[in-house]
Subunit: 245 residues, 2 copies
Amino acid sequence: MARNKPTKNKQNSIAQDIALKIRHEQYRPGTFLPSEHHLCDLYGSSRETIRKALEQLTELGLIQKMRGKGSLVLDIQRFSFPVSGITSFQELNKTLGMHATTEVLQKKNDMIPDTLAKGRVDSGRTALHIERLRKIDQVPIVLDEDYLLNPPISEVSDAAAASSLYAYFEKELGLDISYATKEITVEKVSDRTASLLALDENKLAVVIRSMTYLADTTPFQLTASYHKPDRFKFIDFARRRKISF
Amino acid sequence: MARNKPTKNKQNSIAQDIALKIRHEQYRPGTFLPSEHHLCDLYGSSRETIRKALEQLTELGLIQKMRGKGSLVLDIQRFSFPVSGITSFQELNKTLGMHATTEVLQKKNDMIPDTLAKGRVDSGRTALHIERLRKIDQVPIVLDEDYLLNPPISEVSDAAAASSLYAYFEKELGLDISYATKEITVEKVSDRTASLLALDENKLAVVIRSMTYLADTTPFQLTASYHKPDRFKFIDFARRRKISF
DNA sequence: GAGTGGTCTAGACCACCAT
DNA sequence: TGGTGGTCTAGACCACTCC
């Protein structure tokens, strides 16, 4: 049963509400949001809370704050919205209105490949290996190889594998998915992978390897995603950091 | 490493200080930072200010906050530190301790290609076009095509082009670099580009197109970076967002 | 000068973790 | 139970923009 529910706090609700109003063009690109003072009245909250909500929108690239002027709504192109961060294929599918299908090729326990474990997970440990082929308009686009660690994940239904693993983890298992590291490279892949993705003879694919962690810093998902190069597009929004490591 | 904006406020100084202590293992991975209350005493500041500093470290992936326990220092692998965000080649070079050289191939006014303008900049407008070839151990790795808009940039010295454009923009011109959008694809490139990068016959390169903006939302730099596929590696750290667009 | 965002404060109450 | 982080508040002062 779900242990952790989505935190319903004020700043998130406000951020979500303003984000929706931007999405629905109630607040239009090139115009300013109501002032922070005015938003305080609108939402009945303190200014710091409003500012924390606006900070989230700033990080997402929805607004740009300008001292002495206000919060300018940025012009987000519908199909250039950031596809980085931790977002599942299913969420993307929904957001971008794609017509995609998912075919589950395998679902069984396997050894975790060293290329994914990277010394951060016991090598030789087994995990639930789910292999899924993603197609758009019947054309194979992505091959996902997921390794789900047990604990915290012991079983996954066929339905969950075919729709959305993340929704299952968060809503059904109550897992608190927190962060991920990922790595993008271009590699020559195996004959099998090349064949599944109908690659050229060079067998080059874009490979995204990621390790996803829970809030308690436990890794729970290792993934290798193989993308058909000519259909691959990674879009990102980034802000210049004020501090450096 | 190249400083971003001078840290003149308390929260940034604190964040920078803690980041350095983590970097120098004064705070070690797997251990907890002093509690927020204790940090208040250490830095003589209020708790909210400490929390804003810790929030920056959390976004960077340096720490993970755990309710009831403390702020855990995460294990950052030296060479897996995020290479996303807005970071210049020169900053990376220094951070990762690479031995890289930069060769300036061209520096002249040119028309901005439509593939970079994307309708966000007047097509047909000219800009200062700087072409640079990046080599590591004499091997060409990256070809950078920069288009610098005038205003705000009218001239760039050979020295600045060969070392770091960002340092020049921020320190000399006082520009407030704020955010960027970028797009990663894999494409067949021109014969000239392929030749400069010594690509295979398939002429495939990883292409990163970006548009960088100032704090007043003015675009000032359009870039296309062509990477040799077998040497390309993009590393990212991402947190699961609490709100969706 | 009036209005905007940028920063910082001191305090409050809550939820969670350990003992 | 005491310590930790999570959230929110009301107010203060400053820097900047625009009229």
